[in-house]
């Protein structure tokens, strides 16, 4: 019996105007998506590889250890995802590279110090020079979140209320069909009707995309695509359930349509962004950027004064029984033998003083870099925590859930950016360790990292320098995606159950 109902629903829908319009709009969007991806992706890959080669070359040009320690590894670039057509992930708002070319130099009477590099993350919108009007990218996320929610509503708003109005519902239930069976039949029938054009559009999209050599989909990619289809179907199912629920609860299809569309506008169009910004209002406030700068400057100044104090202390500390230069000159005229001995003593004392100064300088430079990075990192982490919390709040909207799930599938978006940041941090640790190890291998060196006199001067083979490579790893994003999928499925259950309960009690 249930097959019969599903079949009837399917034929009803497929012969309708809305089905044709659905097919047209889905195909147009999916083809556009594929074509634009084919046009823009090679450019993105080329830019990335050019950038990477550029920064590798600068790395190779830094042949001695001090330059490496001082200038750092150059810009570190984020590798673009070949699945960016699935989810753009707000590419325009996330930085594409992390720079590490900070530098200052300080000098005083008789000394000069130049800083080492540090990581800085950038705090301005990378999109700020774009004069074009703002718009959302037409990726799969756009197509799924907007259309796979809107279309099910158009198919279901009159599914029960319309039949009730016409009286066919009464007729249908007069047959030996239980209400649950009818509901399940309607649910599956509609879901399949919506998914048929979607799946075909997706296949067309993939055909166009895989015609190109730039994007090659691996087996793992195909597995992910299967998961994406699952996500899309449960998302569409949520809205089929919602449509049936409202439709079962209202007498007139006109009313159910208005209610459904308004719910849709609120949850799908507005909620993901409104909730995101609204939620930051009630979060513990972040330091403003000026406060952050001020506190960092204060800490740096403290280090600087410390250094100056200790430097002065070293300079003032006099070894007892040493002659001043003028006394020494006088002594040379009278007693050259003792004078020579005294002069040697003086030289030794100077050397000790010079050594102490060098140690102090190395310490200043290391502490300066450490403090800067610690502050930058703490601020970055506070920012990230804020966004994470906002993302949890926006998950009230199923559209946001789908967006996040698809982003982690495609290797784009915020989570991917976090992964990239982690790679950057791992790499910098490795890079610094490399410098320390290379330096300690050289017995000639004084092991004072950060100052030219204190470090190994042996040439470095450019192959030995660790190179930054940002590889997208899907394994750790898969967890969050599975969680999102579970969330979607449970939402689906809730709405279907709601429809069921209302329909069971409804008068026909």
């Amino acid at each position: 019996m249930i097959w019969h109902i599903i079949k009837r629903e399917l034929f009803d829908h497929i012969n309708s105007l809305r089905f044709i319009l659905t097919v047209v709009i889905l195909f147009i969007l999916m083809v556009t998506n594929a074509v634009v991806h084919l046009r823009t992706h090679p450019e993105r890959v080329r830019d990335y590889s050019e950038n990477v080669t550029g920064s590798l070359n600068t790395l190779k040009s830094r042949a001695d250890l001090y330059t490496l320690a001082q200038k750092g590894p150059g810009n570190l670039y984020k590798s673009p995802s070949s699945l960016a057509f699935i989810a753009d992930g707000g590419d325009a708002y996330l930085p594409k590279n992390i720079s590490n070319e900070g530098s200052w130099s300080k000098s005083g009477p008789g000394w000069k110090a130049q800083s080492n590099w540090w990581l800085s993350y950038g705090s301005a919108n990378p999109d700020a020079k774009d004069l074009r009007p703002q718009a959302t990218k037409i990726d799969w996320v756009f197509i799924i979140t907007y259309l796979l929610s809107f279309i099910p509503l158009l198919f279901t708003f009159d599914a029960l209320s319309g039949e009730r109005q016409q009286g066919t519902l009464r007729l249908c239930l007069a047959n030996p069909i239980s209400r649950p069976v009818l509901l399940i039949g309607k649910f599956l029938g509609t879901l399949i009707t919506v998914l048929i054009p979607f799946v075909f559009a997706v296949l067309l999209n993939l055909t166009v995309i895989s015609a190109d050599t730039w994007t090659q989909l691996s087996t793992a990619d195909w597995g992910r695509l299967g998961l994406i289809l699952l996500i899309a179907s449960s998302y569409a199912g949520i809205f089929v359930g919602l449509g049936l629920m409202i439709s079962a609860g209202t007498r007139e299809p006109r009313v159910s349509l208005v209610i459904l569309l308004l719910i849709w506008v609120a949850t799908v169009v507005f909620m993901p962004s409104t909730l995101g910004t609204l939620s930051t209002k009630w979060m513990p406030p972040l330091q403003t950027i000026d406060q952050f700068h001020a506190s960092r400057e204060a800490a740096l100044k403290q280090i600087d004064t410390d250094y100056n104090d200790r430097l002065n202390a070293v300079k003032e500390k006099k070894t007892p029984n040493l002659l001043s230069l003028s006394d020494l000159q006088k002594l040379f005229e009278t007693d050259p033998e003792t004078a020579r001995a005294e002069a040697e003593k003086l030289m030794a004392a100077w050397e000790v003083e010079g050594d102490e100064e060098l140690v102090l300088k190395a310490e200043l430079i290391t502490r300066d870099v450490e403090t800067r990075e610690r502050f930058n990192r703490e601020y970055l982490e506070a920012q990230i925590a804020q966004v994470q919390r906002a993302r949890i709040v926006t998950r009230f909207s199923p559209a946001a859930i789908v967006q996040y799930a698809l982003e982690s599938m495609a290797g784009t978006g915020f989570n991917r950016h976090l992964q990239y940041l982690e790679h950057v941090h791992d790499y910098t640790r490795q890079f610094r360790q490399f410098i320390v190890e290379t330096d300690s291998a050289d017995t000639q060196s004084r092991h004072l990292i950060g100052i030219p006199e204190g470090m190994s001067e042996e040439p470095i083979a450019s192959e030995a320098i660790p190179k930054f490579e940002d590889k997208i790893a899907f394994s750790d994003t898969l967890n969050t995606a599975t969680l999102d999928l579970l969330l979607l499925v449970s939402l689906l259950g809730v709405f279907f159950l709601g429809a069921f309960l209302i329909f069971i009690r409804a008068e026909v």
Binding site: S16, L17, R18, L21, I25, L29, T32, V35, V36, R39, G90, Y93, G122, S123, A124, N125, P126, D127, A128, K129, D130, L131, R132, P133, Q134, A135, T136, K137, I138, F142, Y146, F150, R254, V255, V258, I259, L261, L262, V265, A266, V269, F270, S273, T274, G276, T277, L278, K281, L286, Q287, T288, I289, D290, Q383, I384, Q386, V387, A390, T394, F414
Partner: protein
């Protein structure tokens, strides 16, 4: 009869569930977003005044003319609440320097407290009207004629001695009143919220601008209502007309504006234009370098520019690109050279100002042919949808559109000229205080202040006019078409 018809339409709409739902949802969205937007605006305002202070302090700290680091900041536009446009996104700090003319793309972006939050797109109030109320307009319209036709009430109404045009007009007026009610109510809510916040002061002109936005909203909603009415009249089936209306709405409001920006890249590859402009600029600089070398050849100055063979006791300053600032302490030995250095700086100052104008000309041409042209073409393509026409018209009223931004840049450019005039008045380029403060630092008491006033309402209105006119034209066309079909309709 006409009045009766209107009253009947009004009542049937006002008592309906859809009207109630529309009002509730609109108000909810407006209030929720207005709270966020207001706070955002306050934060931007605080940051603006703080930046202003920093800029002023920096300017006062300069001891010589060449070390003057002057920047100006674009104030946030209070009407960005309604239509954000480019106001929040484009860089807002402009450096004022005689050797370069700032263009619209030169503003440096302010650092944000949390730039990642840009991932959540900001919603302005106009967007809510654009999306929710256009949908409502179509929902009011799709069964206006078709529903009556199916019920048979249309036949009943027409049997009265009433013209068909009158029926259409009555339906139109009734629905428009119902659509405008949520707009006015949410406007009221926003104004109440605004009055609780002290930092936003709207003047009379701003209220006129808001009036302009409301007017545009009316025309926009009317266009959508008429689209629905046309479809309803033409199809005569509520089911068909509803589906056409809904898909048309998705296409016009949701898909097309994003699609056209995504799929179409106007203006093609601009790398050739850019590289040729780079060459031209390089040539201009070569010319400058040549003239500098010529000057130096005929002067007793030697060594690297700026310090030359002066006997410098102490010096400080900065340099970046071709710009540099110096503050030196000279010993008496270099006194005979000082007039030559003064002459050098006077010549270079004039040279830099001239080359800056030339370069600005080249860069402006390049900008007009690349990014600006691309932006304008994107706007034009988007304007094929009434939804985008509405966005751009409201941005023009609010002054947050491209032209509003260029207004500010023009003010910045004219401030640069004022600064140059001020330098000329003080004979700054040829003075010792250009490069040395040992005989007294510069007193900045009469440094001209930067002032920027937004364009007045009439200017905003002229900018919004083309879009408004197009929207009106769409209205007119739709109404005539509906009227023609309706008069020939067999009932």
């Amino acid at each position: 009869m006409f009045r009766n018809l209107i009253r009947q339409e009004l009542l049937s709409h006002l008592m309906s569930a859809r009207f109630f739902a529309a009002v509730v949802i609109t108000l909810l969205l407006v209030v929720a977003n207005a709270v966020v937007l207001l706070e955002d605006y306050e934060r931007r305002l605080a940051r603006y005044s703080q930046q202003e202070n920093t800029h002023r302090q920096k300017a006062q700290e300069a001891k010589t003319y060449s070390t003057l680091k002057l920047s100006v900041e674009r104030p946030p536009n209070p009407l960005s609440l309604f239509s954000a446009g480019l106001d929040k996104r484009l860089g807002s700090t402009f450096e004022i320097y005689h050797g370069s003319v700032p263009l619209i793309s030169d503003g440096s972006a302010r650092s944000l407290d949390n730039a990642f939050l840009n991932l959540f797109s900001k919603i302005d109030l106009v967007l809510i009207f654009q999306v929710v109320l256009s949908l409502m307009a179509l929902l009011f319209a799709y069964d206006a004629i078709a529903g009556d036709w199916e019920n048979g009430t249309l036949r009943l109404v027409i049997s009265h001695p009433v013209r068909r045009g009158t029926i259409l007009l009555a339906k139109y007026i009734g629905a428009m009143v119902c659509l405008l009610l949520p707009v006015l109510m949410s406007l009221l809510m926003v104004l109440i919220l605004l009055s609780t916040v002290g930092s936003i002061q709207l003047d009379g002109e701003d209220f006129l601008r808001i009036g302009g936005i409301v007017l545009t909203t009316t025309i926009y909603l009317s266009a959508f209502y008429l689209i629905g009415l046309l479809i309803s009249t033409a199809t005569r089936r509520t089911a068909t007309s509803l589906m056409l209306c809904m898909f048309l709405w998705v296409a016009l409001v949701l898909v097309y504006p994003n699609w056209s920006r995504f799929a179409i890249t106007p203006v093609g590859d601009t790398r050739a234009v850019r590289s040729s402009s780079d060459q031209q600029i390089a040539q201009i600089w070569e010319e400058v370098d040549r003239e500098e070398a010529q000057f130096l050849a005929n002067s007793p100055l030697e060594g690297k520019p700026q310090r030359f063979n002066l006997d410098v006791i102490q010096s400080s300053g900065f340099s970046g690109g071709r710009r540099y600032g110096i503050d030196m302490k000279l010993s008496n030995q270099s006194d005979p050279l000082v007039p030559h250095v003064q002459k050098y700086h006077a010549t270079m100052g004039a040279l830099y100002i001239r080359s800056a104008e030339q370069i600005a000309l080249v860069r402006k041409q390049t900008l007009d042919r690349t990014s600006l042209r691309r932006a304008i073409w994107h706007e034009r393509l988007m304007k094929l949808s009434p939804a985008s026409l509405y966005t751009f018209a409201t941005a023009a009223w609010a002054g947050t559109d491209l032209e509003g931004m260029s207004d500010f840049v023009q003010a910045v450019q004219s401030y640069r000229r004022t600064l140059i005039d001020y330098f000329h008045d003080k004979d700054a380029f040829g003075s010792r205080q250009w490069f040395a403060s040992d005989k007294g630092a510069v007193d900045w008491w009469d440094l001209p202040q930067f002032r920027f006033a937004r364009a007045d309402v009439s200017e905003n209105a002229t900018r919004a006019l083309p879009e408004l006119f197009l929207l009106l034209l769409i209205n007119l066309f739709l109404f005539t078409a509906t009227f023609l079909i309706f008069t020939k309709l067999e009932v």
